[in-house]
């Protein structure tokens, strides 16, 4: 498997670099700042070679080094109790965090962004986003078991949304469906603020036995380093440093070549091949090749290991024989893995490669030099301390300050604004508003998207979108499984960056509990604008502070995630959008709670847990009226925790047959969604909550107060349910009953809307815009 003839380049060797200190290098074009270049020269004691410059530039990019956020992200590691660490097997810093599930099982999950590539080239950008996160999961020694994808697009009626939505959805489907991983949920939000910066986040979850855990480190002097999977090509060069670490700007040339191209078949084969390697214990350490490609894999493996590494770069199998050493080091070609293998296992390793027809090449070995040395046909072109590349990159304390406009924004409440005048009051108006809400781009039925994804493969999917959380079984013999929900509300976070991040966690935590699972771990994808703008940096600092405080209070540790910055076009940043994924544990997924009632639930009582306040600022209804101002709903994490415990206990003890959390669109959206889930009607009255909470009908229906959920309780369980909630001092109201005969949602004294009307409103929107 050796390379043909070695190419003739003017190779910039280390010796050459030492002898020619004044050669001009394109460090600025590669995204490095002058202080950063000076630092590299200081570290090396000479100018870097072209290959070293390529490595440092990608590894010190915002995307790979977290240089603007490192000082803030530390809070996730600091604000943890011993109790929170109890089940944490691997925390932040590895490819993905690992949580103990008991019975010898563990689960690993992570959410990541692939935003910029998905705008430039939606199909491949979204597809390779799935591919990358799945390889992170394999790198931990786990079998991937499901994926999810929270998406945010520009205005639904904007002409460019056609290109982006069709491309992203078919990219996620085209790649994900070919891997045999069920897509169990996500969210889809439309907002003009994301027009030039759509957010394509991808989550993958994997399961493993404790003994199968693998980490990314190269240890054992003399062990062999192997690169396997797809060949290295010219795609994705500069993806991390250029695309993901810069704002879009009309004046610069197309960045399409910086987007990687995916081959899902190669990835599927790679998954099976890796699992076979793990099963036979043939690899000592493993690392996927994602952002920054070989630069990242070699420097991280060497840096995390105990020694050094020696690599001969001409051994890399290429798709394009004209690539320079620097390009080979920077290429982000997909479907590649790097592993460390003991000499005794080389033969067995090669047999697995042969079985799956996977190409591989031995690049070098682990050394005791503490140096990462890369040669090109024997000549040294990289000689660095791998830690300076992988871990000791620049760290910035970016200036930040509360924006001057924040006070005015928060003072501009919905009900005091012109948009908030003449709110619906009569039954007829409330019904029209309900249908408008249900048909709105953000709340409408998203099966146009989810039906393009395989949610069944694997045979372990117990819940998937549109249920509150996706639920997958891990152990067929016991029913052990996990629930995952991803949530964020960019409008809330824009109004109050600290509270908004907490509300994102509160909602995903609530969604997981609604399915009956016990929340256990969090992964976050922090999507923000440019950190060089003090306003944005403040949003980011507040978001991280808010999220880390809330994780501490709810007792769920952050196990990993990703930061996506520079999501802005010109000066206009996206709303701060911290997408939070919560993972929960279910001892038996057969006990999971679906988000709607079926016909046989006829007559069951519908209870609203929690209290409602006048909280319409930042709401979906205000959004429909074109208003964004005021303060988001109040965060009450103690109430969220209490609500979660009620939902989990009620599910475990068989007290509820359906549950759905209240979030965007408030009570009326939740009721409509529960009715639409299986097309079974309900009859409810608002009198009790209006009187108790001092509300008018409109506010009772459309307010987005937090820590609330609707549940359906069988008549036989009502006494037990009420005993439990009153013993815990939690406010509940019996709103009404499931009515399987009516074929309608009746809000007594206000309006009745038929299931068909609701369905037509809900299902029409996506079809209207996307066919």
């Amino acid at each position: 498997m050796s390379q043909e003839a070695t190419k003739e380049f003017n190779i910039d060797t280390v010796d050459n670099a030492a002898g020619t200190p004044d050669v001009e290098l394109p460090w600025a074009e590669l995204g490095l700042k002058d202080n950063e270049f000076a630092e590299i020269v200081k570290i090396l004691g000479r100018r870097p070679t072209a290959a070293e410059l390529a490595m440092y530039s990608v590894m010190w990019s915002e995307h790979c080094s977290y240089k603007s956020t490192k000082n803030h992200l530390r809070q996730f590691g600091q604000k943890v109790t011993e109790e929170m660490k109890k089940d944490l097997m691997v925390g932040m810093g590895e490819n993905a965090g690992v949580t103990d599930l008991g019975d010898g099982w563990a689960v690993t999950f992570k959410i990541e962004s692939h935003n910029s590539p998905s705008f430039v080239e939606p199909y491949q950008g979204a597809a390779t986003g799935i591919g990358g996160i799945v390889r992170d999961i394999i790198s931990m020694g786990a079998r991937p078991i499901a994926v999810m994808d929270p998406l945010r697009f520009g205005a639904i009626d904007h002409e460019d949304s056609q290109r982006v939505v069709h491309g992203v959805v078919s990219g996620i489907g085209g790649y994900g469906n070919s891997l045999g991983l069920p897509n169990i949920g996500g969210e889809t939000v439309f907002d003009p603020i994301y027009q030039g910066n759509p957010l394509v986040n991808a989550l993958a979850v994997g399961a493993l036995r404790h003994e199968d855990l693998r980490l990314a480190n190269a240890s054992g002097v003399g062990n062999k380093v192997v690169l396997f999977g797809a060949r290295t090509g010219g795609d994705g060069i500069g993806g991390a440093s250029v695309l993901a670490s810069e704002s879009f700007d009309d004046t610069k040339p197309s960045k399409r070549p910086a987007v990687q191209v995916g081959d899902p078949f190669a990835e599927k084969v790679l998954i099976e091949c890796c699992l076979e390697l793990f099963k036979a214990s043939l690899v000592e350490g493993i690392q996927d090749l994602g952002a920054a490609g070989i630069s990242c894999a070699t420097s991280e493996l060497a840096s995390n290991g105990e020694g050094g590494m020696q690599v001969e770069l001409t051994n890399v199998l290429l798709r394009d024989s004209t690539l320079t050493p620097g390009e080979i080091l920077m290429s982000e070609s997909q479907e590649r893995m790097m592993a460390v293998v003991t000499p005794e296992n080389v033969e067995a390793f090669e047999a697995v490669m042969a079985k799956w027809n996977v190409e591989y090449s031995w690049l070098g070995e682990v050394t005791d030099t503490d140096r990462l040395i890369i040669t090109w046909d024997g000549e040294v072109i990289v000689d660095v301390d791998p830690k300076t590349v992988a871990h000791d990159g620049p760290v910035y304390d970016r200036p930040y300050a509360r924006p001057q406009w924040q006070d005015a924004l928060q003072a501009d409440t919905f009900k005091s604004s012109a948009a908030g005048a003449n709110l619906p009051a009569t039954g007829e108006e409330l019904k029209a508003a309900t249908l408008e809400l249900i048909a709105s781009p953000n709340l409408c039925d998203k099966s146009w998207i989810t039906s393009q994804y395989d949610r069944y493969v694997g045979g372990n999917t117990a819940l998937a979108a549109p249920d509150d959380a996706g639920v997958v079984r891990i152990d067929e013999s016991t029913g052990l499984g996990v629930a995952i929900a991803t949530d964020a509300n960019g409008r809330y976070t824009y109004l109050d960056p600290y509270a908004g991040a907490q509300l994102a966690l509160a909602e995903s935590y609530r969604n997981v509990a609604t399915s009956g699972a016990v929340p256990a771990a969090v992964s976050d994808c922090l999507n923000y604008g440019s950190p060089e703008d003090p306003d944005v940096m403040w949003q980011l600092a507040e978001g991280i502070r808010g999220l880390s405080d809330a994780c501490m209070e709810l007792g769920v540790p952050v196990t990993g995630g990703n930061v996506s910055l520079y999501n802005q076009t010109g000066d206009k940043a996206i709303h701060p959008t911290p997408v939070v994924a919560t993972l929960g544990k279910l001892d038996d997924v057969a006990r999971r709670t679906p988000s709607g009632w079926r016909e046989e639930a006829d007559g069951q009582a519908i209870y609203l847990i929690g209290t409602t306040a006048d909280e319409l600022d930042g709401s979906e209804f205000a959004n429909l009226r074109g208003h964004l101002g005021g303060l988001p709903p109040k965060v009450d994490l103690a109430a969220e925790k209490e609500l979660g415990e009620i939902l989990i206990n009620a599910s475990r003890d068989g007290m509820i047959d359906a549950a759905h959390d209240l979030s965007e669109g408030g009570l009326v959206a939740a009721l409509s969604e529960m009715v639409l889930r299986y097309g079974v009607g309900a009859r409810v009255a608002l009198d009790e909550i209006k009187q108790r909470d001092g509300l008018d009908s409109f506010t009772a229906l459309f307010s987005e107060s937090q820590a609330r959920a609707l549940v359906a309780v069988p008549r036989s369980e009502e006494v037990r349910f009420n005993d439990m909630t009153s013993a815990r001092g939690v406010t509940v109201a019996r709103l009404g009953i499931v009515d399987a005969q009516s074929g309608a949602l009746e809000i007594q004294g206000e309006f009745t809307v038929s299931v068909d009307e609701l369905r037509e409103a809900s299902e029409g929107t996506m079809k209207k815009y996307f066919g």
């Binding site: 469906n177 084969v269 039906s451 045979g459 999917t461």
Partner: protein, 250 residues
């Protein structure tokens, strides 16, 4: 495998004789639903035997399932590369032999069977050009095959449909022949989800031992994990073949 799986219809618990049956499940590079197919085989009461595409030993199995997925990435054309696998030659020989090995091709397995000329027709991209995953209502048109004898003729069942290239096409002469010979095994009921000719969801060969269909019975065998989180209509495919095997040919 849990023991309390509900069997639909009138199927009694498989006897020990039946549960001695060995059913092969073929894995190609890019096969996705092999584990699901094996689970369905076990749920029906038989032993699932893993068959590797590159091998040539059928391991004395009594029947074969070619599961769904994207073998070889569907590159070139769905099933076009897999048909040349050494295992496929063995399967074709056994299916065409006097022993008439029962073969079920699901989705990509169906595409491989048409590419192998074990079944007539071909599949092209869905008429709406999108991948589609939905709970699909089917009518059992022919309950006289090795894989459908457990259904009533005309019975309507719901199993999972999920594919990109699911539009069944054949020339009019072949379609007329299929109808005349009662070889249309399944039809889509209501909306035709991919533009298939005459709403055909699945067909059989003349002898009825080889059946192929686009929808996925293996995803509808266990309450809680199938269509609408409860459908188990797919299990009868796998109990049918056991009945067939006891009925004579084994």
């Amino acid at each position: 495998m849990s023991a309390e799986l509900p069997l639909i219809g009138d199927y009694s618990t498989p006897s020990t004789e039946i549960s001695g049956a060995r059913i092969g499940v073929v894995t190609f590079p890019g096969t996705l639903d092999d584990r699901d197919a094996a689970r369905a085989v076990r749920a029906a009461g038989a032993e699932a035997v893993s068959l590797w595409h590159a091998d040539t030993d059928l391991q004395d199995v009594d029947a074969v399932v070619i599961p769904g997925g994207f073998s070889y990435g569907d590159y070139l054309r769905a099933g076009a590369i897999s048909r040349f696998a050494p295992m496929m030659a063995k399967i074709a020989d056994a299916a065409n032999s006097d022993a008439k090995l029962p073969v079920l091709g699901i989705c990509n397995g169906f595409q491989i069977l048409t590419e192998s000329h074990l079944l007539p027709g071909s599949m092209i991209k869905n008429d709406h050009l999108k991948f589609i995953c939905r709970d699909q209502l089917l009518r059992v048109e022919n309950n006289q095959t090795a894989w459908t004898n457990g259904f009533e003729a005309g019975q309507e069942i719901t199993i999972v449909l999920k594919n990109q290239d699911g539009q069944y096409v054949a020339d009019e002469k072949v379609l007329d022949e299929l109808e005349a010979e009662n070889r249309i095994a399944f039809s889509y009921v209501g909306w035709n989800p991919n533009g298939s000719r005459r709403s055909i969801a699945g067909v059989s060969n003349k002898a009825g031992n080889v059946v192929g269909l686009m929808p996925h019975p293996e995803h509808a065998i266990e309450a809680g994990f199938g269509p609408d989180h409860r459908g188990t209509d797919g299990l009868a495919f796998f109990t049918s073949v056991l009945t067939h095997l006891v009925g004579g040919k084994k």
